[in-house]
Symmetry: C2
Subunit: 240 residues, 2 copies
């Protein structure tokens, strides 16, 4: 929110790279992106980029299309890599070997690897969560176990250099936490002030009873089947 301050030339720029792919849930990416963009405005040496397969408009699960600022090739070694989620297109992307390979290669060179919502399923499908604690959108959190991860019900989970957030809006909380870790709590609180993040959910906290009783499980299964029709082996592994 402030004017960019020139970085001292001796300090290496730390790049926070957000992954964009067709069909994702825009709030998954925009929530934490807005937080880290403010970090870049407030603290010299941090910048955000949005990376995708190509620099062209990509649809989302809303009528908004989004355009990345860079390709994966432009940003081979970001400081942090953040993978947002979505519904059917993200579930389908679990079988997109090209995207998974981008994630594997880039994650191996990143100091922090993060996800929001079902983005953690992409990290898991890329083999990055094996033996780790992780979380995801509540509807698909248990699937993480099929990839060798331990699903945890928390707003965000840190396990080594990998951080995963719960569904959609949880990316804002995760990002503020990471900003606090990178730049201190004072900067994180300033970012929070600038994005006026003082939530007042008009109907109070979430009522988890329907989710916990499994009411949405058939719906979640149907979407998974819709998404993985062309990947029967993965579908069988995840449905068994």
């Amino acid at each position: 929110m402030t004017e960019p301050t020139p970085t001292p030339s001796e300090a290496p720029m730390k790049t926070i790279a957000f992954v964009l792919y067709p069909g994702l849930t825009p709030l998954d990416i925009v929530g934490p992106l807005q937080v880290f963009a403010a970090l870049g405005d407030l603290v010299p040496g941090y910048r955000t980029v949005v990376v995708g397969e190509r620099i062209e408009p990509m649809g989302s699960d809303t009528p908004l299309s989004l355009v990345p600022s860079h390709t994966f090739e432009d940003m081979p070694e970001p400081y942090a890599l953040i993978v947002p989620g979505g519904l059917v297109p993200t579930l389908a992307a679990m079988a997109d070997e090209r995207l998974l390979q981008h994630l594997r290669t880039t994650a191996a060179r990143s100091r922090i690897v993060g996800s929001v919502c079902t983005g953690s399923l992409l990290l898991a499908a890329a083999g990055l969560l094996e033996g780790r604690q992780a979380t995801s959108h509540w509807m698909y959190r248990d699937l993480l176990a099929r990839f060798g991860a331990t699903p945890v019900r928390r707003r965000w989970v840190e396990d080594g250099h990998i951080v995963t957030a719960a569904g959609v809006s949880a990316g804002i909380d995760l990002a503020l936490h990471l900003v606090g870790r990178l730049a201190g709590s004072e900067v994180a609180r300033m970012v929070q002030l600038f994005i006026e993040y003082d939530p007042e959910p008009p109907f109070g906290p979430i009522d988890w009873s329907a989710a916990d009783s499994g009411e949405y499980a058939p719906f979640a299964r149907k979407l998974l089947h819709d998404a993985l029709g062309d990947a029967p082996a993965l579908l069988a592994h995840l449905s068994s």
Copy 2:
């Protein structure tokens, strides 16, 4: 988040139109857009669109570019019109008579007119807030008075058919409130569940002391001057 249900042909489609313009703060638009997109998935008869001057990528105050789904001309009569905000580009847009005229014309035909963050300054500059209570991002809330509105310090403010939200993330709360009004609290709570909006700001509520003491007032004034260099009369009116 569910499959779209066909709308009975006798029910008129209610369109929630989000305004996109260059340089805005993407979380201002994406927060409430995600909420209303979920309404459209859950309840027949609602749909969201993103309207702009032209259907082409527009920069934001992050590295992400955004593309609207429709032009203003495509959507002359939405049910609701929501105007997001931003920093310098939004302040500059207070002098963009072409955009203001779009807002005036469309707002006159809309049942609900809303804003997020400094989007309320655009409604105010368009003459739509005269004699009304309204809110905005805390840094510019008091400016509303210069346009004949009464600034109110609340997460969101309803005055007749005009609803304004506080800064950036407040658009999510406002949108859930509106969904509750349009479709009932049960649907609003379902949307809240799907976007997993159970906020846990890692550093607790906002500490308002620096903002309240006026510490950021010189910064806010500087940005206003930067934005309105080409509109000296408006700048003088707002700075006097």
